[in-house]
């Protein structure tokens, strides 16, 4: 209802929101591997050096090629994003750039470092002494972390803004530390950090789980599966705890978001936990499973705990019914996938601990093959929870999305959106084709004589001569 009102007053709002969501959702698919794959690669290289295992080194070098391609696509889609803030939300940046932008000012430099050191790392294979090479590589994880910190600081500021002094609608003073380290950063950063390492681990491992299912079960496959999967498996149970902390913090920080996640209509005690299900405009719940009092128990450890409902916030300051339902389903999906992932992790760790080897059940590998996709979906739904649950605010409680949107005509934004969708589809196609080609070539080479893994990759070091 309220959103219908805005749509009439701000014609570019709908396409702008769709465009922002689309480009962010695409970019974030590249982030887990972008930030976390260097660590996995270095771990594998370290194992290779420590145990003098050429197979581990080969795996590490191949992963580093994937890293380079990934980074290049991330750089392009990320550049688009930074321009989009200006094209779509000029008024938010004009007003709050001095505070919101701080995180990105750090992020941009961090990626600079990352870009340079990825270059050095790729060039360095067999050109630097192995120990030196590893040492240079060790710059990559902190650089990636610093970048993620910057982005998350900006996003957290949008969720729990702090550190700005306003005078007549203009920001006259910024407390830099307060604006960077907002309350939401405390949970968003750690939850996100674990999410990307988990995702990278599951995604990389899932490639080799598929190989295992197809019958390739030599030392190479085992190693390339076990290392990333173990990393993910250690993190998955921790993520449940951290996610629970995030949810609990939202009760105080963003009650309207929390109410949308749990589709709670009125503030009450003995609140049930609704799994699946939809809420309608009268506050009635349809479908889904309702577990009595569970939500109250989870939030306050007692059935008497009072949980905020949507109606505790004015109708024009909380998510609409559609937005609440999206937030709720996204949240449930994330939690569901997180739980399945944790169960799989426990299975793996249990067998590893008892038998000193990964499980050998075919079902384990079937699930592991799906774990990569599952982790990506968990990341996406997590962001949908965060972003849609924040509506109608672009800066929570301070600035509405409708007040930030561009004054450009809607037709312009629709056109740009269409162009971006088409181009992103092309990029996705090229990206996947490229990775499949590389993997097919590497497989052929394992059967025949080896060449340098970088051959055929468009980015990264060149051979020392070129041939037309």
């Amino acid at each position: 209802m309220t959103s219908a009102l805005w749509l009439a007053s701000e014609p570019a709002l709908l396409p702008s929101r769709i465009q922002m969501a689309f480009t962010l959702a695409s970019h974030v698919l590249l982030v887990p591997l972008g930030v976390a794959l260097p660590s996995l690669t270095l771990l594998m290289e370290g194992i290779g050096l420590a145990s003098k295992d050429p197979v581990a080194l080969k795996i590490a070098r191949r992963w580093s090629v994937v890293m380079a391609v990934q980074f290049a696509v991330g750089a392009v889609t990320g550049t688009i994003l930074s321009f989009e803030f200006g094209i779509l939300w000029p008024r938010m940046l004009g007003q709050f750039g001095g505070a919101f932008g701080l995180g990105f000012a750090i992020e941009a430099w961090a990626f600079f470092l990352e870009a340079i050191f990825i270059g050095i790392y790729l060039y360095g294979w067999e050109r630097l002494r192995p120990r030196t090479h590893l040492l240079f590589g060790l710059v990559l994880p902190p650089a990636g972390l610093l970048g993620a910190f910057g982005v998350l600081a900006s996003n957290s500021w949008m969720n729990t803004p702090a550190g700005t002094t306003l005078k007549a609608g203009k920001v006259v003073d910024v407390d830099v530390m307060a604006a960077l380290f907002t309350r939401a950063l405390g949970y968003e950063f750690w939850h996100f950090l674990i999410a990307i390492y988990m995702t990278a681990g599951f995604v990389v491992a899932s490639v080799y789980a598929v190989a295992w299912l197809r019958g390739r079960r030599d030392h190479y496959q085992r190693l390339a599966f076990a290392v990333p999967f173990t990393v993910a498996a250690v993190l998955a149970p921790i993520q449940l705890v951290v996610g629970d902390l995030s949810a609990r913090a939202l009760v105080a920080d963003q009650p309207s978001k929390f109410a949308a996640m749990e589709i709670t209509w009125t503030t009450r005690d003995h609140n049930p936990e609704v799994i699946g299900g939809l809420i309608d405009a009268n506050g009635d719940i349809h479908f889904g499973i309702s577990v009595p009092s569970l939500d109250s128990l989870l939030v306050g450890y007692s059935p008497n705990a009072v949980v905020p409902g949507l109606t505790s916030v004015a109708a024009n300051a909380r998510p609409t019914i559609v937005e609440a339902n999206i937030t709720h389903l996204a949240f449930d999906l994330m939690v569901g996938l997180g739980s399945v992932g944790a169960a799989l992790a426990v299975w793996h760790l249990w067998v590893l601990w008892r038998r000193r080897r990964p499980p050998e059940s075919i079902w384990f590998y079937r699930l592991a093959a799906l774990a990569g996709i599952g982790a990506y979906i968990a990341v996406e739904t997590g962001w949908i929870t965060t972003e849609v649950g924040r509506q109608p605010w672009i800066v929570f409680g301070v600035m509405r999305v409708a007040d930030a949107v561009t004054t450009a005509p809607a037709s312009f934004v629709w056109t740009m959106l269409t162009a971006l969708v088409v181009i992103y589809a092309l990029i996705a196609y090229f990206f996947v084709t490229l990775l499949l080609r590389l993997s097919a070539r590497w497989r052929r080479e394992d059967l025949n004589q080896p060449s340098e893994p970088e051959v055929g990759a468009p980015y990264g070091p060149r051979p020392r001569t070129f041939t037309a």
């Binding site: 321009f83 000012a105 340079i116 060149r462």
Partner: protein, 324 residues
């Protein structure tokens, strides 16, 4: 201090114009290299010399944008609220370019390959043109997306990128021992230098008519030293390459193109948008400025040596090449 932030922003823009310009220029020569068979050699070299660096260049652009919105939020809002069509077009170019640069490595059918080459080349025209056009629209003080000034700046950027692209490709051709291509790109660099002189003069005349307040300091004020450097160095580089004196030409190319950007910026200082918005009016609160400078200083200390290592490795691998 606000001036220092503005200067940092200018450095990022200049770095993108010079380093990124070399890249876009290479793309332009790729477009002009002719059909698949005729252009094969040139294309292979362009590909070869561009691949390792272009994503680092992209970071300069991101840095400029982020510095702009954090350091000068009001400038960011004003410029984007008016010039969004230019930025959208530049972006489409940028992303098409990235995508098709990758695609031409995986395209197998000759037709697809040819299309990839074309899209890559055309988008190499689009991006610098529209980015520079936005600077022209700002310089005019009127923030009109499509005006004489924006078109003049756009055209200058095309000539300048073609010029720096060709000049650096001469170097790469030598590095990789592709003797015929040295002459090939030398001729093109000379032509581009002439084009840059012609288009640059035309642009200067346009500025004289359209933005007299910018014209004066450019020829008799803060912008003049830089304008002079450009006017002297461009013919000098052209001459060096024409005579085949292959020394210093790359450094001088960067200096020529870089001072052009400086000439514009200094001529319109202390305005960010002439007549509308000064540095002092648009700058973010004090503590934000401090953070920006601290971060920049710390990182420069790290990035400087890191760039050195990358450059060293790059050169060393070239020295090992059997051809040279």
């Amino acid at each position: 201090m606000p001036d220092l932030i503005a200067f940092t922003l200018l450095l990022a823009i200049t770095a993108y114009s010079t380093a990124g310009g070399v890249d876009f220029g290479a793309g332009i020569w790729d477009l002009l290299a002719g059909g698949s068979r005729r252009g094969r050699e040139a294309r292979a070299l362009i590909d070869h010399s561009m691949a390792p660096v272009w994503e680092v260049n992209n970071v300069w652009l991101v840095l400029a944008i982020v510095l702009c919105w954090t350091g000068f939020p009001l400038l960011f809002q004003t410029v984007f609220a008016r010039l969004y069509p230019l930025f959208a077009l530049a972006l489409v170019g940028l992303i098409l370019r990235g995508a098709f640069f990758a695609f031409r490595h995986i395209a197998e059918a000759p037709r697809a390959h040819r299309i990839a080459d074309l899209v890559f080349g055309l988008s190499s025209l689009l991006t610098p043109f529209f980015f520079a056009a936005s600077l022209g629209a700002i310089a005019s003080g009127r923030l009109e997306s499509f005006s004489l000034m924006s078109i003049a700046f756009g055209l200058v950027s095309l000539a300048a990128t073609a010029f720096s692209g060709a000049s650096f490709l001469v170097g790469d051709a030598r590095r990789y021992g592709a003797i015929e291509l040295v002459g090939y790109f030398r001729r093109r660099a000379v032509i581009a230098a002439l084009a840059l002189i012609a288009v640059g003069s035309a642009a200067l005349i346009t500025i004289g008519f359209e933005a007299p307040d910018l014209f004066r300091p450019m020829l008799a004020g803060k912008g003049f030293p830089f304008a002079l450097v450009t006017m002297v160095l461009t013919p000098v580089v052209g001459f060096l390459l024409w005579r085949g004196v292959l020394r210093w030409y790359r450094v001088l190319t960067v200096a020529a193109v870089g001072s052009m950007v400086f000439a514009w910026a200094f001529a319109q200082s202390p305005y960010l948008v002439p007549g509308q918005l000064t540095i002092a009016q648009a700058v973010a609160p004090f503590s934000t400025q401090v953070l920006l400078l601290v971060v920049a200083a710390v990182v420069l200390l790290v990035i400087g040596p890191a760039m050195g290592v990358l450059y060293y490795l790059d050169q060393r691998s070239a020295l090992e090449s059997p051809e040279t």
